[in-house]
């Protein structure tokens, strides 16, 4: 069982999520790949609030006494898994930034060294003349 108010709150949450994500895309401040999860999440929340029977059924199958508790559990699991993937992604990005920063710095130093040796040679040749 879900109260009407709770269902309205869920619909509100779903629309807010969609609104913020789609606004970011509109402003070209977010990549579409990263928005897909939030669109699906908002869709699932909307589905559950429009058809609460789905949540009732899942709750009774899992032996959870109240439907609302099932929804809490469901959201916690989804966000936990999401957090897990975000942590992995963040760690990979961190590694990639380190690698790129080092590569660029080493390349710049090597360029400078080779330029200096060329300039140095020219100066010596000039003095000899």
């Amino acid at each position: 069982m879900m109260t009407i108010l709770f269902r309205v709150v869920l619909i509100f949450v779903s629309f807010c999520t969609s609104f913020f994500i789609l606004r970011k895309i509109r402003q070209a401040k977010m990549q579409i790949e990263d928005s897909i999860f939030w669109i699906i999440f908002a869709g699932a929340v909307l589905l559950i609030s429009i058809f609460p029977k789905i949540a009732d059924y899942c709750a009774s199958v899992l032996g959870i006494y109240s439907t609302v508790n099932f929804i809490f559990l469901f959201m916690i699991f989804v966000l936990l898994i999401r957090n897990f993937y975000v942590t992995i992604k963040l760690s990979q990005l961190d590694g990639e930034i380190k690698e790129l920063t080092q590569e660029i710095a080493v390349a710049q130093t090597m360029n400078k060294t080779s330029e200096q040796s060329v300039v140095g040679k020219e100066e010596i040749e000039g003095e000899e003349q």
Binding site: I25, K29, I32, E103
Partner: protein
């Protein structure tokens, strides 16, 4: 004189194919310029390119197809090419069709897609079902029919090179095409034939294909409708 057309070849772990594909271009199609974008391959792709003195953009990190292709387009943009074509490193695309794509583009189109199913029928297979569903999604949102939306052979004109090179969310995928058709960019398909991949493994297994389909469906049906086209070049031309 330098060519007006740049062939962009994104390559990820294509050591088995890259030499055959690029040698064919150099030998039989010297009228076109090309650039290989090595997308942080873990195999010898970059080594092979350096040994043979190919024109190479060597990305240190794997960016994925969209990032690699965009790197190629940035090169095209800065070098001032009139036209760029996406060309598979696995030998599926045939260079003989570049000419007919370019001729069609001269008629005033912005994007030409090398399509397998303009005059031919789409075969019935699980893989082509995905192609069909994306095509349906595009008809629903754009009211224009694209027979082969997943074709990887796309030619962009100078205006599109700039737009794709400098903006976010311009991956070389059907959802970008759908979005651009909706904002009145002129897209046309030209019949081409494609070969089967000779060596190496395709990126698309069943799980990835399914994830790709879900992403494309949501992107085309939901997300693209909310995008606003504010690109640097449009702002420039309006001013």
């Amino acid at each position: 004189m330098r060519s007006k057309i740049l062939i962009i070849i994104p390559a990820y772990n294509e050591e088995a194919n890259i030499k055959r594909v690029v040698d064919n271009l150099i030998k039989n199609y010297p009228q076109y310029d090309y650039v290989i974008v090595n997308d942080g391959s873990k195999d010898r792709t970059a080594d092979i390119c350096r040994e043979n003195h190919y024109n190479l953009i060597d990305l240190q990190i794997n960016l994925g197809l969209a990032g690699a292709f965009q790197a190629g387009l940035k090169y095209a943009y800065h070098m001032g090419y009139d036209c760029a074509i996406q060309y598979d490193a696995d030998g599926q695309h045939r260079a003989e069709y570049i000419e007919s794509l370019y001729e069609e583009m001269q008629k005033g189109y912005d994007i030409i897609i090398g399509s397998r199913f303009v005059t031919r029928k789409r075969p019935r297979s699980l893989r082509m079902l995905g192609n069909f569903l994306i095509s349906i999604a595009m008809i629903i949102t754009t009211r224009k029919s694209i027979q082969d939306p997943t074709s990887g052979m796309r030619m962009l004109n100078k205006k599109m090179i700039e737009e794709f090179a400098l903006n976010m969310n311009y991956g070389p995928e059907p959802d970008t095409i759908s979005y651009l058709i909706k904002s009145d960019v002129k897209v046309k398909e030209v019949q081409v034939e494609m070969d089967e991949r000779v060596a190496g493994e395709s990126y698309f297994n069943f799980g990835r294909s399914l994830a790709y389909m879900v992403r494309m469906a949501i992107s085309i049906l939901v997300i693209q409708g909310f995008r606003k086209r504010t690109t640097s070049y449009i702002q420039d031309s309006e001013v």
